[in-house]
């Protein structure tokens, strides 16, 4: 037998060393007792066990059923609200447009009142009386601002 790479023949001494190395390897491989493989499998068991996923963090499978059910409920509720919603005439309550017109009318009345109080030098108490008479209230912010900004309108009787 030769060393193929260098084409150098192995001597008897080389073969003796090779045999000794193989024998040493065999001695090492046969050193463990019969329970060696069993202990090795025991050591492997924890590494092979599947990692348990905590229940609370386990992902739930996606399903369209609850999504569709919620969407259907929302459509039904919306439709029912539109169909059965009472009209302004039924409730006697003003709708949004009516409320806006009323506020504009109130503002016009306040502006007239402010002009009047300015010319007549009316006090707040007198204005209160007048507004109650006009069935309005001194609650509009612009009116307060205008009255507070003009001392002539806050004089006393």
């Amino acid at each position: 037998m030769t060393n193929e790479h260098h084409n150098e023949p192995y001597t008897n001494e080389d073969h003796q060393v090779l045999r000794a190395l193989d024998a040493l390897g065999e001695s090492n491989r046969s050193a463990p007792d019969d329970g060696f493989e069993h202990r090795l499998m025991d050591a492997l068991t924890p590494a092979l066990a599947p990692i348990p996923i905590p229940i609370e963090s386990a992902p739930k499978p996606f399903s369209w059923i609850p999504v569709a059910a919620v969407a259907a409920c929302m459509v039904l509720v919306t439709a029912a609200a539109v169909i059965f919603a009472p009209t302004s005439a039924q409730t006697g309550q003003p709708n949004a447009n009516q409320t806006l017109v009323a506020l504009e009318e109130d503002l016009s009345a306040f502006e007239e009142l402010a002009s009047l109080s300015d010319s007549l030098d009316l006090s707040i108490a007198e204005l209160d009386f007048l507004t109650e008479t006009m069935d309005t209230e001194l609650t509009h912010p612009s009116v307060f601002v205008e009255f507070n900004a003009n001392p002539s309108t806050s004089g006393s009787l």
Binding site: M1, N3, E4, H5, H6, E8, E13, D14, H15, Q16, V17, L18, R19, A20, L21, D22, A23, L24, G25, S27, N28, R29, S30, A31, P32, F36, E37, R39, L40, M41, A43, L44, P46, A47, L48, P50
Partner: protein, 202 residues
């Protein structure tokens, strides 16, 4: 080159199938792998640490690492299992030596000598060469020569597999193996003591 073929050989295709089954968690596949490679890994470790318990501990650590990586990442590299397995083994042995050196330095310096000394293990007197002498000679080899000898004769790896593991050409490995053999042969040659040959002293 020598009669150093693995006792439990397996074809590449069969090995790929077994490793893939092992990656899927098959217990029977793991039994086959431990039967095929457990003692070869043990022999690699034992030849370096000279301690049966420690060698078995290293072997278990190597297989746990392999199992963890295989079951987590799967197996895709056909024909690379053995070089990978024995690379992990070599790294574990080196880790153990580093750990023991640190321990020896940090505790009792007198332990350092024991750490690196050759511990006699039972010797098979039927072998042509006395194994204790062979172990001592192996300790005198440099690291690269020793690695090739161990992978070849303890791990029973082919030169092709060693080439894949060490990333070196097969021809280079053959030459280094042959050189290592010659060094061992020189170290193991019967020492012609000067006391036995009075004429040599004159």
């Amino acid at each position: 080159m020598s009669g150093n073929e693995p006792q439990s050989s397996i074809s590449d295709e069969a090995l790929t199938r077994v490793v893939r089954d092992a990656a899927d968690g098959s217990e029977s596949a793991w039994r086959e792998l431990t039967t095929l490679y457990g003692r070869r890994v043990f022999a690699m470790a034992r030849s370096r640490v000279h301690d049966d318990d420690l060698a078995e501990e290293i072997t278990q650590s190597v297989f746990v690492t392999v199992a963890t990586k295989l079951t987590r990442d799967g197996y895709a590299e056909q024909g690379r299992f053995e070089p990978w397995l024995f690379r992990i083994t070599m790294n574990r042995v080196r880790d153990e030596f580093r750990r023991r050196k640190r321990h020896a330095h940090s505790t009792d310096p007198s332990h350092l000598g024991d750490t690196l000394a050759v511990h006699d293990t039972p010797v098979d007197d039927h072998t042509p060469l006395e194994q204790s002498r062979l172990r001592e000679a192996l300790e005198q080899l440099n690291e690269s020569d020793r690695t090739i000898i161990d992978l070849r004769h303890q791990g029973q790896m082919s030169f092709k597999q060693i080439s894949a593991l060490l990333d070196e050409p097969v021809g280079t490995l053959l030459a280094r193996h042959h050189r290592a053999l010659k060094k061992l042969r020189t170290m193991l040659e019967p020492q012609e003591s000067t006391q036995d040959d009075p004429g040599a002293t004159s």
